[in-house]
């Protein structure tokens, strides 16, 4: 393993991950010693509109994948409308590759609770929900404990710290459905229905949970808020780039020596991140990677110096997404990997719209055939055609996400497909998989 160079080490920005080093930071007493619940005192001492302005000034953008400006989103909530407002925190983390929210909630749950209090105060919500992925049981355990502790200390409940502001916070476990990470499907799920996306508009800011104005934000977004309240917008902007401010947790997995979570200013490159992660594993050469989960177009070795911020990745033809960087080498097969992702999208498709429901069904079968050694060149046209018909014609982002690895691997790695078709590559799947047995 090679040691990262000093100039690359300097790109680390331990902010949201810093308390993870204290094994007991999940306990309220320890959290308080580490600047915890200091930001709410500051926040409750200013007008909510001034808080929204602060978040706007910081340039904070959503960490859930789309990068929408958070202050702007909060500002969309109509005020004085006489309706209850809600904050819903999206903790459904399920995008393949994404693994930053679970550790945050497990090792520093109070930072999310504190962020939730500040955000709720800013948008004038008296109820907030954390919709946490069902499988994330240890994170939920710690979060529920944190919420209980916060109530006991008067940080939640009625008249928080004498401010006159009331907030109830509920941790609500999902039940195993990736689509519930899509914000409108999440709201339906939270209302006790099947998690299927809603038609937009109206957007959640106008008619969200219980048809009331609602902000939906990712865990990382909300957990960033206390730091901005403490350190200020200028300090926050001292990290990252002009349009993509602040620190970001990059999740590296796959063929690197040291997979893990690396918090750096937005705009670091994959080359630098691989250096921080001790290099590629011996015998592995970078071949393809996801910049932000499997729903973001794959990039290749030639994109290794792309700045990993919203603009930089977009310029390279992909999406920053959740900075979930799955790194694959020349020993991995883009065709096999895409097949496995498609099995996932097929399984997780909610069935509401035809392109995604039917398209994934057929694409999965086409991949199985190719990987079993029975593919034809025409199958590649069929795949391209199907993917093109899913992309942009689906009801929600899941369909687009499913088409994404298909389109990008056909673009970059057509020869890997031809390898199976022309018999140069040994089949990866057995005949059994062709009858749909899975």
């Amino acid at each position: 393993m090679t040691q990262p160079r000093q100039e690359v080490l300097q790109k680390l920005t331990p902010v949201l991950t810093k308390r993870w080093l204290s094994p007991d930071a999940w306990q309220i007493g320890v959290y308080e010693q580490l600047d915890g619940y200091r930001a709410i005192r500051k926040a409750l001492d200013v007008h909510p509109d001034d808080l929204i302005q602060l978040i706007k000034d910081s340039g904070l953008r959503g960490r859930g994948g789309a990068g929408f400006p958070t202050g702007l989103k909060w500002g969309f909530i109509p005020q004085g409308d006489g309706k209850p407002h809600y904050l819903v925190i999206n903790a459904d983390e399920g995008e393949p590759g994404t693994c930053k929210d679970l550790p945050l909630m497990t090792y520093d749950p109070h930072s999310l609770v504190e962020g939730a209090i500040i955000a709720s105060y800013a948008i004038r919500a008296n109820r907030a929900f954390i919709y946490i992925r069902g499988e994330a049981v240890h994170a939920a355990r710690r979060l529920r404990n944190a919420v209980q502790e916060a109530y006991a200390k008067g940080y939640l409940g009625k008249n928080i710290l004498g401010s006159g502001f009331d907030l109830d916070l509920v941790v609500h476990s999902g039940a195993g459905a990736y689509i519930c990470g899509e914000e409108t499907a999440l709201l339906d799920s939270l209302e006790g229905f099947r998690g299927q996306p809603r038609l937009r508009p109206p957007f959640p800011a106008i008619a969200g949970l219980y048809a009331s104005p609602t902000v939906v934000n990712n865990v990382g977004t909300i957990a960033s808020v206390p730091y901005i309240v403490l350190g200020g917008a200028d300090w926050w902007k001292s990290m990252g780039t002009e349009k993509s401010s602040g620190p970001m947790i990059y999740s590296l997995s796959g063929r690197v020596v040291n997979p893990g979570q690396y918090e750096c200013g937005l705009g670091i490159t994959l080359r630098e991140l691989i250096e921080l992660a001790g290099g590629m594993q011996p015998g592995h050469n970078l071949k393809f990677w996801t910049p932000g989960g499997s729903s973001t177009p794959l990039l290749t070795a030639e994109h290794i110096d792309t700045p990993m911020d919203f603009e930089g990745v977009a310029a390279a033809g992909s999406i920053l997404g959740t900075t979930a960087m799955q790194i694959f080498s020349d020993q991995d097969c883009p065709v096999y990997n895409t097949w496995r992702w498609l099995e996932f999208y097929h399984h997780e498709s909610c069935g509401k719209c035809t392109p995604c429901r039917e398209g994934n069904y057929w694409m999965v079968r086409t991949y199985r055939r190719i990987l079993a050694g029975h593919g034809t060149v025409k199958d590649l046209d069929t795949l391209q055609d199907t993917a093109d018909n899913i992309f942009g014609r689906s009801f929600c982002g899941l369909g687009d996400g499913a088409a994404t690895p298909v389109v990008s691997t056909l673009k970059w790695f057509r020869d890997d497909y031809l390898g199976y078709i022309e018999g140069r590559t040994a089949p990866r799947l057995s005949e059994k998989s062709l009858v749909g047995a899975h």
Partner: protein, 278 residues
């Protein structure tokens, strides 16, 4: 809900679960009780290990909706099981990244070793096996969970077999990062939104090396973000809402029943101007 008459199908579950069901309903705004459906479905699994027709009836009657509505929801979500489950649910991630790092071999080995397939339970009723999609722990790939708690990281066919043998023989197995192992039914109680009743379970599990890699590297090399001053003032352009109310009340000549000075002062000694701390 206070006066629900339960049908014979729902009655046995109601006798055991009505109290916690009431607690669950109370978490949601009045009139929005249907939000309790997901936790209620987790709750019925604490008794039955799956969502049985009786469980569906119980949820429907508690919420005053029909069984078809409950059934439509129950069948949508992977974590609601349609058949009785074992004492432990062993899930192997076989999504792409875990898959190519060995997760598929781990799963195949368990299929062979246990003689069951996806979503099937061993004859001794101990283990239900499943392959799972990305479990948000790719930096530990391939991963295996027991009752959803992270139990084996960087799993191999051998370490996975060792795990299931320990579970079957009733030997202790300390999870890699989750809390001490309980039964699947006990876990459902937590999924329904209740605190883990086991003393010390919240404290279990330490962060693994991958989680801490970046932040440790920063610590070892003395890298920190400069210029952080937690007292950096926030620009104030408006009075606090409660002071606003008091001011308006005074202006309108309404005799406020509390003097305005009763409220916490809007600002402390700090200047409310915008000059930065630096």
């Amino acid at each position: 809900m206070t006066t629900v008459e339960f049908s014979p199908a729902a009655e046995p579950l109601a006798a055991k679960l009505l109290e916690p069901a009431r607690e669950i309903l109370a978490r949601y705004p009045a009139g929005r009780e249907r939000s309790a459906l997901l936790p209620l479905l987790h709750l019925v699994q604490t008794e039955e290990g799956y969502v049985s027709p009786n469980g569906v009836a119980f949820c429907a009657e508690v919420l005053g909706i029909n069984k078809a509505q409950v059934g439509a929801v129950a069948t949508f979500y992977t974590m609601y099981k349609r058949r009785p489950t074992g004492e432990y649910l062993v899930s192997v991630c076989t999504n792409t990244l875990c898959n190519v790092l060995g997760g598929q071999e781990v799963y195949d080995q368990l299929v062979e070793h246990l003689g069951v397939g996806h979503d099937e339970t061993t004859a001794d009723g101990k283990i239900t096996l499943e392959h799972a999609e990305c479990l948000a722990a790719c930096d530990y790939a391939p991963v295996v969970t027991v009752n959803y708690d992270f139990t084996v990281d960087q799993a191999t066919p051998e370490s996975a077999v060792e795990l299931v043998e320990n579970l079957r023989q009733g030997r202790e197995h300390t999870p890699a990062r989750g809390a001490r192992i309980c039964s699947l039914k006990e876990m459902q109680y937590q999924l329904a939104g209740f605190a883990d009743p086991r003393d010390g379970a919240v404290a279990d599990g330490v962060a693994g090396a991958p989680t801490l890699r970046g932040v440790r590297l920063a610590q070892e090399h003395g890298v920190a973000v400069a210029g952080f001053d937690p007292d950096t003032p926030i620009t104030k352009t408006k009075p606090l809402p409660k002071d606003e109310v008091a001011t308006k009340a005074e202006a309108a000549g309404v005799a406020a029943n509390k003097p305005a000075s009763d409220a916490k002062p809007a600002g402390d000694a700090r200047p409310s101007g915008g000059e930065g701390a630096k």
